[in-house]
Every structure is written in C-alpha cells, then in structure tokens.
C-alpha cells in the first residue's frame, strides 16, 4: 500500500503541475505529502505559484483562480483513475473569457477518452458539445427540447 501511494502521488503531482501550467499559462503547481509524517498518515498539501506572483496561500486566491485549481485537480485524477462519466455543473461560472477558453481546450483534449456531461450557460462551451440537450420547464415539468445551435447566436435559450 505504501509503495502504491507514493507512486500515485508522484503521478498525481506530475499531472497537477502540467494542468496548472496549461490553465494558468506559466503557473506552477505541486502536490505533495506533508513533511514529517509517515506516508500512510500524511495529509496532502497543494502549492500553486501563479505567473508574476509569489507562492500564494490558497485562501487568498480569487473566485476564478480557485475554480481553475479545482478543474486542474479533476483532470489530474482523470488520468490516474478514470471514471465512466464526468458531471460538471456550471464549473465555468466564475471564469473570465480567457480561463473559459483554456478550460474548453482541456475538455476537448480529454473528450476523446472520457464522457463529460457539462451543464453551462456559456455559449462558447455549448458550441463545442458533441451532443446538446435543451431543458425547459413547461407548466412546472422539466422536459427535453431540441436545441439548434444557431439559436444561441442571439442567445435566447427559452
């Protein structure tokens, strides 16, 4: 168990630092066991250094930065322990246009090996979907409606 945990952590740290540099363009990320503990009991620390800034305490991060670190973590685990499907409910809510674009690039890259169910209001994300479902509430009942992508250009999702 100890050996497996160490190799999982090494792999996770590698993936995490790659994801951070993709999502923060030049940022560096690191995951490691807290020093001074036996590996089996050791908690896990996350350290992120963003471009131009000093190593920062996670609690000082902005709303969008926290979302990006969360997304980096999900995609880091995806490669180690893939799931039969992923559900992401408005994870882009706090992201600006740049960050959203980087998130989309990541989705597209991994959508070849995984199934993502993505709930969003963002037109740029909707446009990249392989399958698009519209949901609407008619007289208090949720139903599926067909959605034409052209409808989004004037953004009237009814």
């Amino acid at each position: 168990a100890r050996k497996r945990l160490i190799s999982t952590m090494e792999l996770l740290n590698e993936n995490f630092s790659r994801m951070i540099s993709v999502l923060f363009s030049e940022g560096t990320g690191m995951m490691s066991f807290t020093e001074g503990f036996d590996i089996l009991d050791a908690p896990v620390e996350i350290n992120v250094k963003l471009p131009g800034k000093k190593i920062q305490k996670l609690y000082t991060m902005s709303g969008g930065e926290k979302s990006l670190v969360g997304i980096a973590f999900i995609f880091s685990l995806l490669m180690i322990n893939p799931s039969s499907f992923y559900v992401l409910d408005e994870v882009d809510a706090a992201l600006d246009d740049f960050s959203t674009q980087r998130f989309i690039n990541l989705l597209e890259e991994y959508s070849k090996v995984a199934t993502f169910i993505v709930i969003t209001h963002n037109k740029f994300i909707m446009e990249r979907a392989d399958t698009l479902y519209g949901i609407t509430m008619m007289d208090g009942v949720s139903t599926i409606i067909p959605v034409e992508l052209s409808e989004f250009s004037d953004s009237k999702v009814e």
Partner: protein, 158 residues
Amino acid sequence: MRLVRLEIEGFKSFGTHVSFEIKNGIVSIVGPNGSGKSNIVDAIRWLFGERANSKLRMSETADVLYFGSNSMKRAERAWVKAVFEEDGKEISVERIYQSDGKNTYLLNGAVARLKDVEELFFGTGTGKDFYSIVGQGEISNLVNSSPIQIKSLVEEAA
C-alpha cells in the same frame, strides 16, 4: 465501462419520462434558470445511494417525488435508471422510491441491495462521492478543503 443512457421519471421536476442518450465526448445540457438541469445531477447522486438530504437540496426523503403542478398531480414514485456498457454487454442500475416510503434498487432488472450496486461499481470510478461528479458551486471546494480531506481523495484514486 461507459455510461450510455440515463432515464428519469417522477424524480423532482421530471414529472414525465425523459431519456438522455450519452455518447462519448462532450454532452452539454443547457436551459434557463430553474428548468431542471441540476436536478439531473441530484438524480445521478440519488441513484448511487446518496442519503444526505443536504447534498440533494432536500429536507425530507419524500422531496424526491415530483410534487405536481396546475396540470399534473403529484407522482406516485420517483425512478432513475442508468445504463452502462462494458465489453459489449449492458449493465443497468435503477432506484425507485414510492410514496409509501419504500426504496428499491435494481441491478439488470433484478432487485438488489445498495451494497451490491456499490460492489459492482467499486474501482470503476463511479459513485455518489467520486471526484467525477461536481455539483453547482462545488468546483472551488477542493481549494477550501483540508490537507486531510485531500488525502482521502488521493487514497481513493490509489
């Protein structure tokens, strides 16, 4: 193992039967505020045995039943079904809640216990607490969680 279909009827705002064909890649679900998108995420968590009402935005177990509207009466039962595909074979999981309070799980059509469902999906990266389901507003939770909580996510992946 891959998720291929999700069906819901009588669960929360899904008063009538809906079915989502889930193809590989990006499946996007879009629609106005309050149309029922996050209820789909609740349906998936509930199917895999979620008991904590707070995680399902409910205060009592009967809140899963479609509570009716001007044109339809309250549902007698809530039903959610997920169909997976593995090596060409189909595996289906269902959960049914009836207004008398009875909960039933079905594996490939036969009555089963939640324990059987959990054992079948163990190690496949599917389950109510798995990192692969991110509810609305939850993406920044990772950064706010303690090193101990992060450790248990990593252990699950090992």
